[in-house]
Amino acid sequence: MLTKKVALSFLVIAASGAYLWNRPVPAATDDILGAMPQGDTSSTGSIAKPLPLPGGSATPDKAAAPASTAAPVTPAILNEAPPPPEPKPAEAADSNPGPTASPALQPASEPSPLPTEPRPPTALAFAQPPASPAPALPAPEVVDIPLPRPRPDYRPTPVHQEPPARSLVTPASMKIAASGRYADGSYTGPVVNAYYGYIQIQAVVQGGRLVGIKVLRYPNDRRTSIFINRQALPMLRDEVVSAQSANVDIISGATLTSEAFIRSIGGALRQAGA
């Protein structure tokens, strides 16, 4: 069932967050899931918001075992959040960035700026095993047949200036006891910069425990720009994603929002901590 799956996903996030609060202490992987705040395990509540509610990233099981089939995620399920009293985004519209020309930092020792030429990323050849001592970048691979046009060289175009990110983080200490007693209610965390957008979490506490998380805000306000000339590029291939064999050595997944997530929910729980 979809809602169940969705709720479970949130739980995973919660687990990730709860664990990481304690992160100054290096710990064994197996503990990751252990620190999960136990929600009500019996109900099949659903997430409060119907539509895409991406939250922080969820990578708790990653360390558990790459290639793990069916990570033993605790079957806890988030409760339906009670009507939130105040899902009030506490931020002013980040509209007006101002034409801050972003006086770029000027490190003394700057690597050679390469403004015009194509930029092959500086390579660091973790070369193929045994017999390849060759450190050099392999020549750009030959494209395969169906490619209609060769790739254009990378050419910097007029600079698209992104409004500088703004930080609304409350920089208090992040130490939060996952097992602490909280006062019941709903608590809205601060809006936190997740690098490419903002995240805001609401924590729902019942019976002194964290039982639900709502994502009030997540980075969906992506700017679209037009500095890329798609006409000059080949049509890219599409496919529908589908589950693959989990028999892999390592897993790559997103973690970008996790710290922002933790900060926001940490702020919410501080209010609950009383």
Binding site: A123, P129, S252
Partner: protein, 247 residues
Amino acid sequence: MRATRILMGMPITVDVLGSPDTGILDAVFAYFEDVDRRFSTYKPDSEIEAINRDDLSEPDYSDEMREVLALAEQTRRETHGFFDIRRKDGSLDPSGIVKGWAIRNAAVLVAERGARDFFIDAGGDIQSSGKNATGEDWSVGIRSPFDPNEIIKVVYPRGKGVATSGTYVRGQHIYAPLTPDRPITDIVSLTVIGPDVFEADRFATAAFAMGGDGIFFVEETPGLEGYVVDSTGRATLTSGFGDYCQP
């Protein structure tokens, strides 16, 4: 030998095969701790926070700090400003670039100690080298943005770096039919394979921030390949990505 620890707010796994040097893992984790002490914006006594408080002036920056700031500035330029470590209040948050940089340096450290077959995975960003325990290329699964227990793609980076940026969509998940003309919007996961994990990581971060344009940015940047997933479950591949999908 293999170990995982939580450092810098994420699980870091190091797997080194066939090396008698049992100190490698400790050395790698010690390095990450060192990086965290210097660059964490969560630690008041870190160098970056000292800089942000104006307690440290530029001539006193460490070499590592200079390098990272220079790389950040280079990345800002190369990504048309989409990657910028400067916050609105003027303070710096280089965390978007430190991770890939640290993994790359850690991989160099492992290689310098004689190991040839290994990988380092820090929060889903991966540098692998050599072969796995069965003598095959390391395989990397791309995690589904819709279900953390699911893999949606398997790649064989063969010494290249792999990094994924994204967020996880909750709620309705409708598989849309393939409609090539439809613009890519609302992307939820973007994986980049680059010359090494540092390159992959910084461009994955920046390209994800570009939204639907990100995959085209990856396409037109030499040395990078990408795989983007949008909220409807459609994936788009750069023209050379398929080469990494063959075992």
